[in-house]
């Protein structure tokens, strides 16, 4: 089943020719999620073929402009394109007022409902879940309230061994129990072990988004062993003082977190406009963690 992350903006506060401000499109088991929405995100979506109307959930990490200035424009465009399907936005409390004020003053009403779900400061746990996926949040360490996110597939059912099950001639009603990992006692009193009729389910995958944040080991338990970690690396160790002053991370900080959380792969992003490319970042991070890459606008990562 699909699970991918498309980078719509990999830059920091100052947009450059090659890096837009933060935004990502997550496709997870046919759920369409946008994380952050910096200015110009709708233009990036068009450029990289992300369909506006598919998006059902928007997560906003924090209210620095480079993470949400594109939101009201995106909602307006969705409206102009005829959207009638509602959308849910998970964000710090003040965002709703900002968005509604701008839409009201323009005098138009959106043709679809917008539901704001407030993420409180220091909130942890599940923001959203359905049968297949869940979205979790946890606090990052930045100048203002900032929330990280994990998008996780739920534990899947065990895979039935069809031939073995058929050969045993058991009632079809046992299938669901075996899939859930339960043993069954048949009408003759015989116990059937689920392990004889099923194998382990495909592994549930998880993606973690951590931007913006200073180095903070307190996030490790929330992102433990994810398949893909996006961690901001606005700077490298050469700008350690600047990172500290602005509550951002270096590439080495991000790699340390990747090591401690034992993730499978690390993507660095939110690069300061001062860097012409991500070479220094990769070099620095890979001294302690691989595989690591620097996100580029338009990159798509498969989990």
């Amino acid at each position: 089943m699909n699970f991918s992350v498309t980078i719509l903006g990999s830059g920091a506060a100052l947009p450059t020719h090659s890096r837009n401000p933060t935004s990502q499109y997550i496709l997870c088991n046919n759920r369409h999620i946008l994380i952050d929405c910096g200015e110009g995100t709708q233009i990036q979506m068009r450029k990289f073929g992300v369909k506006f109307q598919h998006i059902s959930y928007i997560l906003i990490s924090h209210l620095h402009g480079d993470h949400f200035f594109g939101l009201v424009g995106l909602l307006s465009t969705m409206h102009l394109l005829g959207r009638d399907k509602g959308i849910t936005i998970y964000a710090p409390p003040e965002l709703e007022q900002i968005v509604r004020l701008q839409l009201e003053i323009g005098g138009g009403k959106l043709g679809f409902g917008v539901t704001f779900i407030t993420i409180e400061k220091n909130q942890t746990g599940v923001l959203f879940e359905d049968k297949i996926i869940q979205i979790e949040t946890f606090p990052l360490k930045h100048k203002i309230q900032t929330n990280g996110f994990v998008i996780r597939e739920k534990l899947k059912e065990r895979t039935l061994l069809g031939d073995e099950f058929k050969a045993a001639g058991l009632s079809l009603t046992y299938i669901q129990k075996f899939k859930k990992g339960e043993n069954v006692v048949d009408e003759k009193g015989k116990t059937h072990q689920f392990l004889d009729y099923t194998i382990d389910p495909p592994k549930s995958r998880a993606y973690a988004f951590c931007s913006d944040t200073a180095y903070s080991e307190s996030i490790v338990p929330f992102i433990k062993e994810v398949d893909l970690l996006y961690h901001e690396a606005t700077f490298t160790e050469k700008e350690r003082d600047r990172a500290k002053a602005t509550k951002h991370s270096t590439a080495l900080d991000a790699a340390k977190i990747a090591v401690k959380a034992d993730v499978k792969k690390l993507i660095l992003g939110h690069l300061s406009a001062r860097f012409a490319n991500g070479e220094e970042h990769v070099k620095e991070a890979s001294t302690i963690f691989t595989p690591v890459e620097v996100a580029e606008d338009g990159n798509e990562y498969q989990l």
Copy 2:
């Protein structure tokens, strides 16, 4: 002296690959003015080499998002680039609240002062003037309060004929009077005609911006005989009903206004995303007015 208009966005509400939402950069006698600031304007400025920090005045025609959603991002970027020089924004009353709310919630203070000057509904006359230029406003006809703008060079002084003046051996104190078109009586009681010592000044040039608006002859007196008229032409006559319903103009509407106002040149803009190019618009408008062009992002027009 310089007087040019650079198109930063020539599209309507839906941004396309080739047309950003409305914004224009006006360079007039070394005054740097931005008209409207749709989402992505700062990216367009970078693309077309317009220096952020030169801008001193921003005029916002109306509060539909495609004319101002890029403003708060632009101000943030000016700040991040170290701006300390104040900026003045002329706009409908509600804009100040929108901008200040977003900046406050982000927690940062701009390093420069932003002065908002309110343009009231149906306001006419001079918004700004200095020795060299003036900016005038007048109401357009749209769904919400919308203001047009004229940027005009002030009447210049007459040009002194140096040789004639020298030959007459007159006091240098007369120069300013002649330049202002006044005759002078010398100490012997003789009258000197300014026409003998000066020629007409270089013509004062003017640029008019009319977007968004339905066809409205009431704007004609305000834009009479300007050198360059930018008039919106969201549609062509084929979409006459749609133009009427949305209070926009067709290319023919814009051309009619150009004829009635007796302007020198017409630029059409704010093209609906449905048009792949401006060919139909030019064809339609040029049946009654030439020269006419369709604005393209990045075009620069010299007055």
